[in-house]
Point group: C2
Chain length 353, copies 2
């Protein structure tokens, strides 16, 4: 935006705020500081005080971003402990249009390739999203933590987690995210344990969350061209706002709680896998399953597709790629083999819990 029109915009906001009152005042105050952070000074001292008091009550996007940044720290610490050897390397980046991120990547003894990414970005809302949401041209703010871990052992699962908060200049906001598990070999007991952890987090916030979000995950993490799920599912939610009957504060708590359950849950899954023996055939199968993971991410994952098509930061978007993947023509595991059994589990609607 041009500097002069930015200034005029901020003044108009301020004027509108001045002639309104009560809740609207808080809203405008909030929108002004979000949209024109450098023009906060346009407020009178008294207005600034009101604004700060009011903002203390309503969630601020910076507050959410800060909490997500701490979540990234906690998770990285937990994963380093679980790995026992690898240390995360950090990489800070700025987005030309606004904001930036803190990418952390680990190559460890247990986790072959892991990425734990934090970002908080803002700027004009890409036209495609604005259109798909029936919004006029506006600004957006998005912050989140996104994780994919590929273990060395084919007997341990790939795991993915993402929690994010999104807000537009028109005042709309929502949370999104989820966790899903992709075992190379499905172990029903592990899938049960995993889903129990997720259900227990969900149940603390809404009795329908687990059922609904588990269902969404089944639908979302699905390779339509293979007619198979990516793994044993998990939970997935998007556009989650207070229309579900849970306040913004509580939804924020929920998103953080999903994030906090990640490291302990995966640590337990790694512990269970550590003594399972494997050899060349299992390694080969792992490579082929990683090929499927690539197919899902590049062909079906909305976030990846959107990011690549709208000039996102490629290295962050593609940190989900496995270190190595393989493809074979028309491979069919022998009936009754552990590989065939795994394929039998890769379907929607399995009630693990």
């Amino acid at each position: 935006m041009h500097r002069a029109s930015f200034f005029v915009g901020a003044r108009r906001f301020l004027e509108r705020m001045r002639i309104q009152s009560g809740n609207n005042k808080r809203l405008n105050c909030n929108l002004l500081s979000q949209n024109f952070p450098n023009y906060f000074i346009l407020f009178t001292k008294k207005e600034q005080d009101i604004c700060q008091i009011k903002n203390h009550v309503m969630l601020q996007k910076e507050q959410i971003a800060d909490r997500f940044r701490i979540l990234q720290d906690t998770i990285c610490h937990g994963l380093e402990l679980a790995d026992g050897q690898g240390k995360f390397l950090e990489d800070n980046w700025l987005r030309p249009e606004g904001g930036g991120g803190r990418s952390r990547v680990l190559e460890g003894a247990v986790i072959e390739k892991g990425g734990v990414m934090f970002s908080a970005v803002h700027g004009p809302l890409p036209e495609q999203i604005a259109k798909s949401m029936h919004l006029p041209p506006t600004d957006f703010f998005a912050t989140g933590v996104s994780i994919v871990l590929h273990p060395h052992s084919p007997m341990a699962p790939i795991i993915h987690m993402n929690v994010r908060y999104f807000e537009t200049g028109t005042g709309r906001w929502w949370f999104g995210g989820g966790i899903d598990l992709t075992p190379h070999y499905v172990v029903p007991d592990d899938a049960l344990f995993f889903h129990e952890q997720l259900k227990s987090v969900c149940d603390r916030y809404h009795p329908a969350f687990y059922r609904d979000f588990k269902h969404h995950a089944d639908d979302y993490f699905f390779l339509k061209h293979r007619q198979e799920t990516r793994g044993v599912g998990g939970i997935f939610f998007d556009y989650l706002d207070d229309k579900c009957g849970v306040s913004q504060e509580k939804l924020f708590e929920f998103a953080v709680a999903v994030g906090e359950t990640f490291a302990p849950t995966y640590t337990e899954l790694l512990r269970r896998a550590q003594d399972r023996p494997w050899g060349e055939p299992e390694k080969r199968w792992q490579m082929l399953r990683r090929g499927r993971y690539v197919e899902f991410n590049l062909v079906w994952d909305r976030g990846t597709k959107f990011g690549l098509e709208t000039n996102g930061r490629v290295e962050s978007i593609l940190m989900s790629m496995p270190p190595t993947a393989q493809w074979a023509y028309n491979l069919k595991p022998a009936d009754g083999s552990p590989e065939a059994e795994t394929l039998n589990w890769l379907r929607k609607g399995v009630d693990w819990v």
Copy 2:
């Protein structure tokens, strides 16, 4: 289509044909036999004779499919000679909606994974294509040969070729296809040789073909998210019909000529690469470049996307996948290294010839 309305449609076609004459008669006759093959019997004996004589003049889709099937044979034979050891395994398949294919896959001494696929399929035109072409619901027929070869040596290039013929029930037809080369390490002399071969084929049919199709290839084989071309390009053409001033018969010849230049050209490129030494670092680079090949095919290639979204035969569509691929986070080759030099060549608009 319901049987009764099919019958009425065929009768109307026949009536229209009867009140028209000359070229139109031939056209309708052709359209009738394409659209309503089981109703050929509706013609009088004399009309059937005219039809068969006329059709002998005009290209028949079966004739094109037969020629492409022979092309597949010739190419497979040439590639087995070039490999010196590997033999193609054949796999025939039927498409539930109509038609089928003959897939051939080779795992050789020089070619690590190669697929040479022939198919001839027909049925109702998928809604998405009909819409994108502003066509009413109609039938289609498509036949083609499609190839991707991944060599063992990182010093030899990946190559892709495709020639195809497409026809709709509304009477539209066109040829499409192309060849493009993806060296793991760009060797300018090889790129020059490759483009010379393509230019020489193109020049036999139209003075603008090479220039136009080379330009299309630069635009098409482009990883927008990486801002790099897939390789050193080649030629790419689509929706090529007689509006370009070349007859259907000559365009068919052109498509076959493109196909026939494939095996000798790649054989020469393999010969040139055979004595180039390589070790672990080159192998690693090859794996990363194969990762880019996967990204192009799954994110940008229209054929792959279309096939996967419209329930195509997955194993044929994904035969283009490399046997193994790798991804690394934020890898930047050292300035002046052969890898960095290769990246410098991966841009649009290089005039190789």
